[in-house]
């Protein structure tokens, strides 16, 4: 089973491919597109049309789900600019990996009083990851951006584990 990527969400929303988006404007655009394309308002007489309307509405919903989440948005942007970059760059810098694993270990053995500071550190690590992804994208370094996206998964996973314990 091979996943066939959905259409470029930036194209679906007629937006330039950029990482920074204004949330309020994005939501307004989403509601506007939905009003124009939702099957509730476009019940076609022909069943073929109806399938097309459904497909278009699905595209808009799915694109919004990607665009509203900064990390998913970053992945979509990388994939659109440099198809296959995310698949090609799964190998991480050993130094980065060692640090991330160390942090994960700390989470696994953290005592109650260590949870709050760890949460803060992981939050900061993720903010750093995102800034690094943004900088790489700005420099058209999509391979670098892809590597950092994969790296952030370790931090996200550790944070999720921490929240599950708390």
């Amino acid at each position: 089973m091979i996943h066939i990527p959905a259409p470029d969400p930036f194209a679906v929303f007629s937006l330039p491919r950029q990482l920074e988006l204004d949330d309020t404007a994005l939501e307004r655009k989403y509601l506007e597109l939905s009003r124009d394309c939702h099957p509730d308002h476009n019940r076609a007489a022909d069943t073929d049309d109806c399938a097309a309307v459904l497909q278009r509405a699905a595209e808009i919903n799915d694109a919004f789900a990607v665009l509203k989440d900064p990390w998913q948005r970053a992945r979509a942007l990388i994939e659109a600019e440099s198809p296959g970059a995310l698949d090609r760059n799964k190998k991480l810098d050993p130094m980065f990996l060692a640090e991330a694993l160390e942090l994960a270990e700390e989470v696994a053995f953290a005592k109650d009083e260590a949870i709050a500071p760890l949460r803060e550190r992981l939050g900061a690590a993720l903010a750093q990851d995102f800034a690094a992804v943004a900088a790489a994208i700005a420099a058209d370094d999509y391979d670098g951006a892809a590597r950092r996206v994969h790296g952030s998964h370790y931090h996200q996973k550790a944070l999720a584990d921490l929240e599950a314990r708390a």
């Binding site: 066939i4 959905a6 939905s34 099957p39 509730d40 019940r43 022909d46 595209e59």
Partner: protein, 619 residues
């Protein structure tokens, strides 16, 4: 199933009226919106609630609604209630409920629950269709017009098969179900129209048999569901059951066992339990004396604290769902502006007080908890009728959808709480040379292993052109439509052949069963049937014309064959243009099938040859 087409040529002077129907576990009701005002429809006695009860009387007569409820004590084993608990389920799923029902339920050959009345077997879809028919009849009398389209509500937590089964019940009742709408979403719509403020709303819907909670954002007429959670096996009936246990416990042990075997007494005990519950919503304690003949007299006093202690674990389960919905919505409890209560069971004081202390604010009480769902359905019906473009609902799928991979694991394709419609496309291939079909098993649920999720059915991709293993590239699109029902389409990408999909649902009725039952219902509603048959025949003819034309373009055929196929397609197309009746269309379809049957294989194989040749040239 595809959406039904909009009927053309509606009388322009009369606005299109689409019913909103709340098809409940214990009661059902209809509402309609004409102009800006939505109103519930009442029968001549002024009653809006139609008990969701069907009685198959010994003389062959069938009663529905209040008449059937009145016969409950007389014919407990022939009176069917709470059918919503069985619809779209397997017998195994339904078994815990079956044990509590006073009528017999048996397993069918496909292991689906069937209501057993004497020697007759009735599917839950049939029983529901009788209720829907009664709702429709009541509505038609109230409006003074025949009505054939509806929006029907279901618990948000209903899965794909339960939704599909509800649509089938509507079809059997001669109703075109324009939309399956989630109950809490419908209630939010009624709240929003009735002066509710823009902002984030939590809808807490505790009915007779099901519990739902949804978090919505309302903004400029757009009602967007952020998350939903629930339990299809939690409701006021469960409160009753706990009280029934209390009543039975007062009987001597021997009598207790025999009561469980006797549907007449069980029904009386259940009814007494319900009345106790209702009294305990007002009073601090309630007494009951139930004469059970030679089994003795059940004499019980229940205080409210006792009742509350008994139901507290159930109420806690609803709060766990609320917590999950809030977390999935990605908002905090403090962001929730209003809490809307829906369903008769929210009248229980403990439910209100627990919810209030959990959320930190009192619930909004302006919406009638019995009517909100039907009113909301009527509003959405009006939108679908094309009468109101100012409102828009964006709902979500309650449970993730996935596909079974090697080793019985489920790979999620669509995550729960995704806004619908939503779709995902995956590519599949064959494992063996010349393989012409691929089986896909689709599951719904949150667990990692297939055995812990609900299987929706087997999807067989058939008609794959024979090729070496791994060469076919079949793109399969899984689309969840606005009803929350999955539609699967497949296309072989090298040949552009639309692969046929054979769906064998694990639960509910097969398409053939639906057809057969519609035939059987002929005597009840010949007009309904003919109308629907005509629509379906038309759709089939249209699809055949379209499909054959596509195949003609794709295939390389000798000119004489092209000529004969063209002739048959044209004849069928003319029948469509002339609005011919179902019989004539059927004859036309058969004629075209005859002509194409002899060359169908050639069409496919020449299309494949062509595609393969191009493939070789390219590489």
């Amino acid at each position: 199933m595809t959406d039904s087409p909009v009927t053309k040529g509606d009388d322009a002077r009369e606005p299109r009226l689409v019913l909103g129907i709340d098809l409940g576990t214990t009661n059902s009701l209809a509402a309609i919106r004409a102009g800006s005002e939505a109103r519930v429809l009442r029968n001549q006695q002024g009653e809006a609630l139609i008990p969701s009860v069907v009685c198959y009387q010994p003389d062959g007569k069938t009663s529905v609604g209040s008449a059937a409820k009145a016969l409950r004590l007389e014919h407990p084993d022939r009176t069917v209630s709470s059918i919503k608990r069985l619809i779209g389920k397997s017998f195994a799923d339904a078994e815990p409920d079956v044990a509590k029902l006073p009528f017999a339920v048996v397993a069918s050959e496909r292991n689906l629950p069937r209501v057993a009345i004497g020697d007759d077997r009735h599917s839950p879809e049939e029983v529901s269709s009788l209720i829907l028919r009664e709702v429709r009849r009541t509505a038609e009398l109230a409006v003074g017009r025949s009505l054939h389209e509806a929006v029907i509500t279901v618990p948000a937590w209903f899965d794909d098969t339960e939704r599909q089964a509800t649509k089938d019940a509507a079809a059997l009742a001669g109703l075109d179900c324009l939309r399956i709408l989630n109950e809490p979403t419908a209630a939010a719509l009624a709240y929003g129209i009735d002066g509710g403020k823009d902002g984030t709303v939590l809808v807490y819907d505790l009915g007779g048999g099901t519990f739902d909670v949804s978090v919505l954002r309302i903004q400029d007429g757009v009602f967007r569901v952020l998350s939903t959670a629930g339990d299809t096996h939690l409701g006021g009936d469960d409160f009753d059951a706990l009280l029934a246990q209390r009543i039975l416990a007062t009987l001597p042990e021997r009598a207790r066992d025999s009561v469980n075997e006797d549907p007449y007494v069980l029904q009386a005990v259940n009814q007494a339990a319900e009345s106790l519950k209702i009294r305990l919503s007002e009073a601090e304690s309630a007494e009951l004396e139930l004469d059970l003949g030679d089994r003795g007299i059940a004499k019980v006093t229940v205080t409210r604290p006792e009742f509350e202690a008994a139901i507290a674990p159930l109420v806690q389960r609803t709060l766990d769902c609320v917590q999950r919905a809030i977390a999935d919505a990605g908002v905090g409890l403090d962001a929730v502006g209003d809490i809307v209560l829906v369903g008769g069971s929210t009248r229980v004081p403990l439910v209100r007080s627990r919810l209030e202390s959990f959320c930190g604010k009192p619930p909004h009480t302006h919406v009638d908890p019995d009517q909100a769902v039907a009113l909301g359905a009527a509003i959405q019906a009006d939108v679908l009728a094309g009468n109101d473009r100012s409102l828009l609902l964006l709902d979500v799928i309650p449970l993730s959808l996935g596909i079974e991979t090697l080793g019985g694991a489920v790979q999620k394709l669509i995550l729960r709480n995704s806004t619908i419609p939503t779709s995902v496309t995956e590519e599949f291939s064959t494992g063996v040379d010349g393989q012409t079909s691929v089986d896909l098993r689709i599951f719904q649920g949150e667990r990692e292993l297939a055995q812990n999720c609900r299987q929706l059915g087997n999807f067989q991709l058939a008609g794959i052109p024979p090729m070496p293993a791994g060469l076919p590239r079949i793109a399969v699109t899984f689309l969840v439509d606005a009803d929350g029902v999955l539609r699967v389409t497949a296309r072989e990408q090298r040949t552009e052949v639309q692969a046929g999909i054979q769906v064998s649902p694990s639960f509910g009725l097969t398409r053939d069963e639906v057809r057969r039952m519609m035939l059987e219902s002929l005597e009840h509603a010949q007009d309904d049937f003919l109308a629907r048959e005509a629509i379906e025949q038309r759709q089939k003819a249209e699809a055949m014309v379209r499909g054959t034309r596509q195949a003609l373009e794709l295939a390389e055929l000798p000119p004489d064959q092209i000529y004969s196929v063209h002739k048959a397609v044209k004849a069928l197309d003319r029948l469509l243009a002339d609005n011919a009746d179902a019989k004539a269309l059927n004859a036309g379809c058969e004629e075209l099938t005859k002509v194409t049957a002899t060359i169908a294989d050639d069409v496919i194989s020449s299309a494949v040859t062509k595609a393969l040749r191009e493939e070789q040239e390219n590489s």
